[in-house]
């Protein structure tokens, strides 16, 4: 199980080589402030890498969430719309956004691993 990060502060966890879970990072939720609304992609939707997949809205701003990898949506976090605060309390676990079925090995060439992402955040 490997976790990758984007410069836009999404994370993607590749579970078993075939499925990936996507969410936004702790840093992202901290910058957004209290999350009040989350819009998630429908099951069956096919997402290209970098495509706008979800919307997260806080008291301060609305932001798009771009898919870090390509694939077909197989599940979304049904609890989030009613409890968007989960994105603040558990951004990298219970606050996940959606799951993708991957089409082969995901392209991670432009993604960062945990150490690289931590350095990136520290540089901001």
């Amino acid at each position: 199980m490997t976790m990758w990060f984007t410069k836009d502060h999404e994370w993607v966890r590749v579970e078993d080589g075939n499925t990936a879970t996507v969410g936004i990072t702790h840093y992202a939720q901290e910058q957004l402030g209290d999350v009040v609304f989350v819009e998630l992609p429908e099951v069956g939707r096919s997402l290209a890498k970098g495509e706008e997949a979800a919307v997260v809205e806080s008291v301060k701003a609305a932001s798009e969430v771009y898919s870090p990898v390509a694939g077909e949506v197989v599940a979304f976090n049904k609890d989030l719309p009613d409890a968007p605060g989960t994105v603040n309390t558990s951004p990298e676990n219970e606050g996940w956004f959606y799951q993708l079925k991957l089409d082969g090995d995901p392209d991670t060439s432009d993604l960062m691993d945990q150490a690289a992402y931590d350095d990136y955040v520290a540089s901001l």
């Binding site: 209290d34 009040v36 609304f37 008291v59 301060k60 701003a61 968007p84 605060g85």
Partner: protein, 522 residues
């Protein structure tokens, strides 16, 4: 008041030092529904006449209460008067909300808008009975065309974003007419949020163009992104950082060379009117927020008005309706079949709204223009820019300006000056309310961190600005002392209500009042 309690906190709710919960002559105002006294009424209506064979409603007579509150006339008058006293607006004080252009609305505008020849007309009246109103629309259009140097203007858009929509629909119509429908609209990071939203609403894919370190469009990145699929470039100028896009001429030329059209968001036109001829910038379409730039009351959702000036390339596609002068007088062209439309080479893309535009706003805007004159309008822009730069100059050493000055009509700061103080932009803004000021715009634009965007407009005197500057400087120093984190976190302290729970309001909004006990089905 309990021992050790903050006197400010003690004034809230159950801990109120007064029996009633009121503070001096500031009355705790209930909802009007909570003031209901069934049976009481401010008007006397005669009882419904009995008719032979029962009522005439065929069994549709209401069985329960409507649920409207019963109050006497003085109760209603006091309720709404007290609510209005809780309001804060440009008529009560300084309102530096950035990007919103809260300038004074001259009373002369109101006087003219109330002339019965303007206020009592109806859009269905025969046009021969509203010749003056049509002439006013044409005169206003003429002023807008002369000021911008643009050959045409669509008058009907009802607000800024609606004007954007009109401009982008004209662009789409023009491209389709030349058999070159394209799919992408480029929008820089420094644009208004409505720009990408408009492009998407018109059916285009949006691509973002980064800003350079000076807060302006990265021209090289734009040139790289231009191509045969790019329909248009939408740029806000002056942009949301309060900066003039100096490369505008080069940008327009590059777009035109690539076959794309240029939309310029003119929401910030109040900074450059009389100083910049829009046509010289190579712009194809630009909306003008009459309600901002030309001083008509706005906020709270309306009414706005967003006429869109158009280049020769777009003029034939301008939406219906429009006013033309004919031998018989002023004529309103409402249909494509009108000889003044098709016969005159015009192919409108459609209609933006019912009726003919925001007429009340037209009257006020033209009143402002004609009373100010060309030189007065130019001076209004100059003074707005001067005021913003005065704020910038007087605050730059205690706040952190995001970009190097000089600025245009607004001054943008970010939250670096609050770093490690534990005070946020939100806390800082709330503390300004205690000092008697409506806070500036915060957390917008998104391109800088924890933004504070101040737009003083030409309305404010140096005296007003100096008091504001003194307050902001004192608060900044207080925040940076590191000793006042709790003070800021609890602000505002002196308002009828303290810090509102915005998160709960957004997550679990209570949108309508419900009676404590269910009333009978109405």
């Amino acid at each position: 008041m309990p021992e050790g309690m903050n006197p400010m906190d003690a004034m809230q709710g159950a801990n109120s030092p007064t029996v009633t919960g009121n503070k001096g002559l500031q009355v705790e105002e209930p909802l009007i529904f909570e003031m209901d006294s069934p049976g009481k009424s401010a008007v006397d209506l005669p009882p419904a006449p009995e008719t032979a064979g029962g009522d005439r409603l065929g069994g549709l007579k209401r069985k329960g209460r409507v649920g409207l509150p019963g109050l006497s006339e003085p109760e209603v008058v006091r309720h709404y008067t007290r609510l209005s006293q809780k309001n804060y607006g440009i008529d009560t004080g300084f309102f530096p909300l950035g990007s919103c252009t809260m300038k004074h609305n001259p009373r002369l505008n109101e006087k003219l808008a109330r002339l019965s020849g303007f206020s009592d007309v109806h859009p269905f009246q025969p046009t021969k009975t509203v010749q003056g109103a049509l002439e006013l629309i044409d005169t206003l259009a003429d002023w807008l065309k002369r000021m911008t140097g643009m050959p045409a203007v669509a008058m009907s858009p009802a607000a800024g974003a609606h004007g954007e929509l009109a401009g982008m629909l004209a662009i789409r119509a023009a491209l389709e007419a030349r058999g070159d429908a394209r799919s992408i609209v480029l929008v820089p990071e420094s644009a208004h949020g409505t720009n990408p939203a408009t492009a998407a609403a018109v059916g285009y894919k949006v691509r973002s163009i980064p800003a350079n370190d000076a807060g302006r469009v990265d021209v090289d990145a734009l040139k790289d992104a231009l191509g045969p699929d790019v329909a248009a470039f939408m740029i806000t100028n002056p942009n949301t950082c309060g900066l003039f896009e100096r490369d505008m001429v080069e940008i327009s030329a590059a777009c035109h060379e690539a076959g794309a059209l240029v939309y310029m968001d003119g929401a910030n036109y109040n900074a450059i009117m009389g100083r910049v001829k829009i046509a010289d910038l190579g712009v194809d379409a630009m909306h003008i927020n009459l309600h901002k730039t030309f001083s008509t009351p706005h906020g709270g959702g309306g009414p706005g008005s967003g006429p869109t000036v158009l280049s020769d390339a777009l003029a034939p596609f301008a939406p219906l309706p429009f006013v033309v002068k004919q031998d018989s007088g002023w004529h309103l062209v409402e249909h494509e079949a009108d000889p003044a439309c098709k016969g005159a080479g015009k192919t409108p893309f459609g209609r933006m709204k019912g009726y003919h535009g925001q007429f009340g706003v037209f009257v006020r805007a033209l009143s402002y223009m004609m009373s100010m004159g060309g030189d007065g309008l130019r001076q209004a822009s100059d003074d707005a820019v001067l005021n913003a730069n005065y704020l910038m100059a007087k605050l730059s050493d205690v706040l952190t300006p995001s970009f190097e000055g000089p600025t245009m009509h607004e001054a943008l700061f970010d939250d670096r000056f609050l770093k490690d103080t534990g005070v946020s932009t939100l806390d800082f803004s709330k503390a300004l309310i205690d000092e008697g000021f409506h806070p500036m715009t915060m957390y917008f634009p998104l391109v800088v961190h924890g933004a504070l965007l101040m737009e003083p407009t030409e309305t404010e005197s140096r005296q007003t600005l100096d008091v504001f500057i003194t307050a902001v400087r004192a608060l900044a120093e207080k925040a940076r002392s590191g000793q006042a984190k709790e003070y800021f976190a609890a602000a505002p302290h002196l308002t009828p209500r303290r810090r509102l729970d915005e998160t709960r309001a957004a997550r679990k909004p209570v949108l309508r009042w419900t009676a404590p006990e269910a009333t009978a089905d109405a």
